[in-house]
Amino acid sequence: MLSARPVQLDGQRGGLGGLSDRLRESIRGSLALGVDEKQRSLVRGIVLGEDEGLGEELRDQFRASGLCHLLAVSGQNAAHVVAGVLLLARVLGVLRVLAMAAALACVGGYVAAVGWQPSVVRAAVAGMLAVLAWLVARPRDRWYFMLVGCAFLLAVSPYNLADPDFQLSFAAVAAVFVLVPRLERFLAGYPVPARLGSILAVATAAGIATAPLL
């Protein structure tokens, strides 16, 4: 039998942990602007991985439709942060070196705000390596980026190997690398628009690889 007393907060963390907490709180507050309560819960789920505010019914519907992965922070989010910063910098005409530095800072801030989850760290490592490769004019290899992320996470804690987030993340990414080109070639033989074909290929590859784990 497990019993617990109410938790009482005595203070806040200091140092980097405290900085992460304040950053997260700041983003949480900003996400509440201009939206109603249900939308707020949803956007906090997608941006920060917090789905506590969603009603039971809507959460069940996300699960039944196969969309519940959107309510958890994924590595894709970190990749989108890098891409978004670079796009914004290009629109504003910022020097590419500065844009890359801003992308590194933003992805670091995002990882700090959402927490050191394996999928996010994997994508952040890949994004940072891609930026560094460009800065020092070295070739880019996505398998290498993925494996460095894997090695980093296992060096931090070998127990990550047993973490479902770790397993799902690497299974999905490896499947995307291996299966998507093949599926896209297969779909090219059918009257499917290229963009839709790409979406279907990614969803199918990720679905096949993660189904045994789910």
């Binding site: 996400l31 956007v43 989108h80």
Partner: protein, 69 residues
């Protein structure tokens, strides 16, 4: 196990990145331009409604989920 996952993801995919982008844009704008951040949030609300509609429509469809046992 969700049976219509691929179709649901294909429907939801176009709004996922804009939702994340507008959310982070609102977070970036809020300390400087509160009204602009609220406008980004308002725009995001439409996309969030669409995403919730995708989940509701597909998640509550007959045979949307296969259950074992």
């Amino acid at each position: 196990m969700p049976l219509f996952s691929i179709g649901a993801n294909a429907l939801a995919e176009p709004v996922v990145v804009p939702i994340l982008g507008l959310g982070l844009l609102a977070a970036g704008l809020a300390p400087l331009l509160l009204n602009a951040a609220a406008a980004a949030g308002w725009l995001n609300g439409w996309l969030l409604d669409y995403l919730a509609w995708c989940a509701r429509t597909i998640g509550s469809a007959p045979h949307a989920e296969a259950r074992s046992g």
